[in-house]
């Protein structure tokens, strides 16, 4: 286990390095002048030159990169926005909860739909439930979530007015003026984003779970369990479910890591100030420190969830050893 941890940490470090270098190189390949943008339209060449020095943009790229690494290691700082000098950490602290709320809520929702539907479909293939489920799956897979999101926004949010159509509320109650917060407002603002995220994934996961459960049901050891006299529910819970969840866990881990890097489209439609929106804006402004910060966070979440999947995998299947 400790060997596994050490190797994983080493890999994470290497991955960080690679991701940040690629981000830096790509940024400087694009012809742009962040200093001029930061200085604004009514500025003189002297001011731009001054800003360029302040942002260290006059240094060669490798020195800029070294400064970034030094600040990260020495001060735990991702640097400051080129545009307004706000620490990148402040941005991340504001935006991660938004994106994480969308992602985790959506994942919980689609698992809550997909696991029961998939298992029931697998146990009663060709039944009404299975066929209904498969129609839903076909719809979910065929309908692009772009379209689903806009439709929900327009019909449920705008036409029916059942939910707010824009913005985000923190989960913790707040009394500050101009802000909102609390469990209900939080969920109320997020229900449509959750549904948008869930529809496509619920369909895919339903299919995946159905296929895996059906395959496991035909395993020899399931027949052994039935020959022992185990009841149907015991066979399902003790022998089938755990064995059929391996693949689901793998894909879930990858999905979570990727989604946490920003659910750009959903944030955009529902006006949620999350990582995806910020990344888009930062790109438009050539705001390198913000871009790198968000990239690093996305990288971290992929690494963390891959790690969790590996640990969970080893727990689910004793044939797999962490080494």
């Amino acid at each position: 286990m400790s060997q596994f941890l050490i190797r994983r940490t080493f890999w994470a470090f290497f991955l960080f390095l690679a991701a940040s270098i690629i981000t830096y190189v790509l940024f400087f390949v694009i012809p742009s002048d962040p200093a001029a943008l930061a200085a604004g339209k009514a500025s003189t060449p002297e001011i731009v030159a001054h800003i360029r020095m302040e942002l260290h943009l006059n240094l060669p790229i490798y020195q800029q990169y070294w400064l970034f690494v030094w600040n990260l290691v020495r001060h735990g700082s991702f640097g400051y926005s080129f545009v307004n000098g706000v620490p990148v950490r402040t941005y991340l602290a504001q935006e991660i909860p938004v994106t994480a709320s969308v992602v985790f809520g959506g994942v919980v929702l689609y698992l809550a739909i997909a696991i029961p539907t998939g298992v029931i479909s697998a146990l009663r293939p060709r039944s009404i439930m299975d066929r209904t489920g498969m129609v839903f799956v076909l719809f979910g897979i065929s309908a692009p979530s772009v379209w689903v999101g806009v439709m929900l926004y327009y019909l449920v949010g705008f036409r029916l007015g059942w939910t707010p159509i824009n913005g985000y509320c923190g989960i913790l109650p707040t009394h500050a003026a101009g802000t909102c917060g609390g469990l209900w407002p939080w969920a109320d603002h997020l229900i449509l984003p959750w549904i948008t995220l869930a529809i496509g994934s619920a369909a895919l996961y339903t299919r995946l779970i159905r296929a895996n459960v059906m395959e496991t049901m035909s395993e020899d050891y399931v027949r052994t369990a039935r020959a022992k006299g185990a009841s149907s529910s015991r066979v399902l819970i003790q022998h089938v479910l755990r064995n059929s969840m391996l693949q689901v866990v793998t894909i879930l881990g990858m999905d979570l890591g990727l989604l946490l890097g920003g659910v750009l489209f959903i944030e955009f439609v529902f006006g949620l100030p999350g990582l995806g929106q910020q990344l888009l804006q930062a790109n438009g402004r050539f705001d390198l420190p913000v871009i790198v910060g968000i990239t690093m966070f996305a990288c971290l979440s992929v690494i963390v969830f891959n790690f969790l999947v590996d640990v969970l995998y080893a727990w689910l299947d004793p044939r797999i050893r962490l080494a």
Partner: protein, 343 residues
């Protein structure tokens, strides 16, 4: 009163290509403490017969008719909860492939304890004690520590021992063994067979030994059923079957059995393939492969009939008694002759 009485058992599978008649009119009895050998090729219906007996086929796919009486109680058509007091408690079953028949993600101790706890209201510690006991009985070394291992930490032979332990943990009256040694190497096969013999002597349970290996039957069985194309084609006491088999398929099986005392160039083989159960041949199912086929064989299914002077030796064949006796004598002579020429 026999322990297991099967009457006119039929199992059909509905497939997209049509109905597969996997088992046709199978009847037999098994007395307490006796061993029944069930012999046949792959696809002869021997496994399906006993999966039907155990209620392990999915009734949505398989249509089952006839009667299966266990200890004078009809068990065909019972559902999972009705079968619960019987499966794993009074009838144990072991399967062909010990590599896949144990749950890979549960400790074998857990799986053994589960078999106890399903049928007995005892604490887990008691179930564990019994699990260790039964592992010792099937001669697994260091049973008290190996109980916490997973299936993949055991060899094939050891896994089959675990399977046997699991089937026997509740002291069943009947053990159904579906090709228990087929997936094992030869030395391990012999060990497992010896173990089953020992356990039968100690516990006095009846055994159904499903196999395609007549050697296994010769070693363990009291009675033998030979199956072909989903039907019983010959049934007899084991000595009678080996002394004077009555139909060509059984002759073929005996001829393809290697013998250490007879050194033949090449083992006899039965030409052709087992019949399709989707479109079985007309008449006797064996007629396309039989060297003695005549017109009647292609038209009319031979009934099971008793052999001369033996009411408990039955077979299906249209050949007359005199012809069968002559052919069998010739075959024996030929086998002896080839043994001599080789020597």
């Amino acid at each position: 009163m026999a322990l297991l009485e099967v009457q006119d058992l039929n199992t059909r599978f509905k497939t997209d290509d049509g109905v597969v008649q996997a088992v046709s009119g199978v009847s037999f009895d098994l007395e307490r403490g006796k061993t029944l050998g069930v012999v046949g090729e792959s696809g002869s219906g021997k496994s399906v017969t006993f999966l039907t007996v155990m209620g392990l086929l999915d009734p949505r796919h398989a249509e089952m008719t006839g009667s299966v009486r266990f200890d004078n109680q009809e068990i065909l058509g019972l559902n999972t909860s009705q079968l619960r007091p019987i499966r794993g408690e009074r009838i144990g079953m072991i399967f062909q492939d010990p590599m896949t028949s144990l749950n890979p993600v549960k400790k074998i101790g857990w799986q053994l304890e589960e078999a106890v706890l399903i049928h007995n209201d005892v604490p887990r510690s008691e179930a564990r004690r019994r699990a260790i006991e039964v592992l010792e009985e099937v001669e697994i070394p260091k049973a008290d520590t190996r109980i916490d291992d997973y299936a993949h930490q055991f060899s094939g032979g050891m896994r089959q021992r675990v399977m046997i332990a699991m089937a026997l943990i509740n002291q069943p009256e009947l053990l159904i063994a579906d090709e228990p040694t087929t997936a094992l190497d030869v030395t391990t096969q012999a060990q497992i067979l010896r173990l089953m013999e020992k356990l039968q002597n100690e516990h006095g349970m009846a055994i159904v030994m499903i196999t395609h290996d007549l050697g296994v039957v010769a070693e363990l069985a009291d009675d033998v059923i030979v199956m072909y194309g989903g039907r019983i084609v010959e049934s007899a006491q084991v000595d009678d079957l080996f002394a004077k088999p009555e139909m060509p398929y059984t002759w073929g099986l005996l001829g393809s059995l290697p013998r250490v005392d007879v050194d033949v160039e090449r083992l006899e083989q039965i030409p052709g393939q087992p019949p399709s159960l989707l479109r079985p041949p007309k008449g006797c199912a064996f007629n396309p492969r039989c060297a003695y086929t005549f017109d009647r064989c292609r038209e009319e299914l031979p009934e099971l009939r008793p052999a001369e002077g033996k009411s408990d030796h039955e077979f299906r064949c249209h050949l007359e008694e005199a012809d069968r006796a002559r052919i069998w004598t010739e075959k024996q002579a030929a086998m002896a002759a080839s043994a001599e020429s080789a020597a």
